[in-house]
């Protein structure tokens, strides 16, 4: 999957969880949970949706690499490569 497609998927899933947040206003290098106002349950649902859609193993031990929008995007790209 191309970078653009992964980014679109990530934005779509975040939009589903946080429909009130405008992607335009988000700091992509800022704390993902702060930027989207999501809690640990939302984050788990995000990981669940992404790992299913991309067929990826996203272990809990890797959560540290998913701290910001950009980090998460880079992580997904590297994993899908």
């Amino acid at each position: 999957m191309t970078k653009e497609k992964i980014e679109m998927l990530l934005s779509t899933e975040l939009g589903r969880i946080a429909p009130d947040i405008d992607m335009e206003d988000v700091d992509r290098g800022g704390d993902l949970r702060e930027e989207f106002d999501i809690d640990s349950m939302d984050f788990l649902n995000l990981v669940t949706a992404l790992s299913k859609a991309l067929g990826l193993d996203m272990p809990e031990a890797d959560y540290g690499k998913m701290g910001t929008f950009d980090d998460l995007l880079a992580y997904l790209e590297a994993k899908s490569a």
Binding site: S40, N45, T48, S51
Partner: protein, 419 residues
């Protein structure tokens, strides 16, 4: 035949607007079927039936705003002839709290068991006291005159005079109470459930009504304790290792399990306090406070939490959160959890003291986990901890038992493998 009434979906609900019938007259009904969808201040709620039978007919129309306790449909039971023996459909004239109790049992929520003598002597309800004894009511002449003038049903009252006689003061108190209730209703109906802004205003009004009642009626006391969650976090990481995301658990599920388990030995924190006194509940219907994006919160119940393991609690929490976010939850989940847990999650502050949601008698607050120096066995370690709090009803329990209960929860959290 029986009447299906608008259920009470929480102490703050006065009425619901019927938006959709899910069953047609003549259709079979099974325990747990969704009969209708009702719009409340908390959003659209699916109303379930808790008996088997056949839908005989509707008693309310789509769009109609129906007060709690009012019949909205007639259910025919097996073996009954169509139209035979219509139930007495006169709305109950009981006071709101009594009404709520009746509704709860009608809706199939396991009603809290009758109070045991060990808890406290409980006054009989006005209805039980006077049932079938209308003629023998003891009423002072002044009280009877005022009651007649105000069209007040004397059988609703508990007399405070000699031999339980109803005196003037009882009647004036009841009239004052009756004035208070419509005023509240008016405030709520001002916020119609149209549009997001109104919905939000409705939610705020509902929270305000419940919290005002709580602070007016419930003498809260507050306790706080620190629990070491280092072991619990390892426990969660260990369980999740190798699991698909869909099967993973959160620390919150371990904390819920600890609360449900600790309640076994501390029944005075699990149940409802009504005008008839405190009724402990055998089952733990664990209310989980879930915040709603954009404002407000609801605290629907995980039913029979004491019988579930951590994975099952996690699955129920996930399902509840998903449905709250989507604005779809069932009436039985909203009506009357027996205790509530409110957790700030990862992004919050260290300590939270909750306000009890009536008619419950306790709420557990869980702060944001923090690492801090923690002394143990004569040495200081960096440990992950959470601050736990208990807000409890002093009419029902005392600080001594509350402290034992809260420290029991902490001990269970610190030994997650025993849960």
């Amino acid at each position: 035949m029986s009447a299906f009434v608008m259920p009470s979906l929480g102490a703050d609900m006065e009425a619901g607007t019927l938006v959709e019938w899910r069953k047609k007259p003549g259709e079979d009904l099974r325990h747990g079927d969704i009969l209708a969808v009702v719009e409340t201040q908390k959003g659209a709620i699916e109303i379930e039936v808790f008996e088997d039978g056949l839908l005989e007919g509707y008693l309310a129309d789509i769009g109609e705003k129906v007060p709690v306790g009012t019949p909205i449909a007639v259910i025919r039971h097996e073996g009954e002839e169509p139209g035979s023996g219509m139930p007495d459909l006169t709305p109950s004239d009981a006071r709101p709290s009594l009404e709520a109790d009746e509704t709860a049992s009608q809706a199939g929520i396991p009603a809290p068991p009758p109070p045991t003598p060990t808890v406290a002597p409980v006054p009989k309800s006005a209805k039980a006291l006077h049932s079938g004894a209308k003629d023998r009511l003891k009423v002072s002449p002044a009280a009877r005159r005022l009651a007649d003038a105000a069209q007040l049903d004397l059988t609703m009252l508990i007399g405070s005079g000699p031999d339980g006689a109803i005196v003037l003061a009882d009647v004036t108190a009841q009239i004052a109470e009756r004035k208070r209730v419509p005023a509240q209703t008016a405030g709520i109906s001002a916020a119609s459930p149209d549009g997001d802004t109104d919905k939000m205003a409705g939610m705020r009004t509902a929270i305000a009504a419940a919290m005002q009642r709580s602070k007016r009626e419930i003498p809260h006391y507050y306790l706080a304790h620190v629990a070491d969650i280092t072991a619990a976090e390892f426990f969660v990481a260990d369980k999740n290792n190798g699991r698909e995301p869909v099967d993973r658990i959160l620390l919150g599920a371990v904390l819920m399990k600890a609360v449900a388990s600790a309640l076994k030995k501390y029944p005075e924190f699990n149940g409802h306090h009504t005008e008839a006194g405190f009724s402990p509940s055998k089952a733990v219907h664990l209310g989980v406070a879930i915040n709603i994006r954009g404002g407000g919160l609801v605290a629907p119940a995980i039913h029979n939490a004491e019988t579930r393991d951590i994975d099952s609690l996690m699955a129920r929490m996930r399902d509840l959160v998903a449905r709250v976010r989507a604005g779809r939850f069932r009436g039985s989940e909203l009506s009357d959890p027996t205790i509530t847990v409110s957790s700030l999650g990862d992004r919050g502050v260290e300590t939270m003291f909750g306000v009890i949601y009536p008619p419950q008698v306790a709420i557990i607050g869980i702060g944001t986990p923090v690492e801090r120096p923690f002394a143990k066995d004569g040495a200081v370690f960096a440990r992950r901890t959470v601050n736990l709090t208990l807000s409890a009803d002093h009419r029902v329990s005392d600080g001594h038992r509350g402290a034992l209960f809260l420290s029991k929860i902490a001990r269970l959290i610190e030994q997650p493998e025993t849960l």
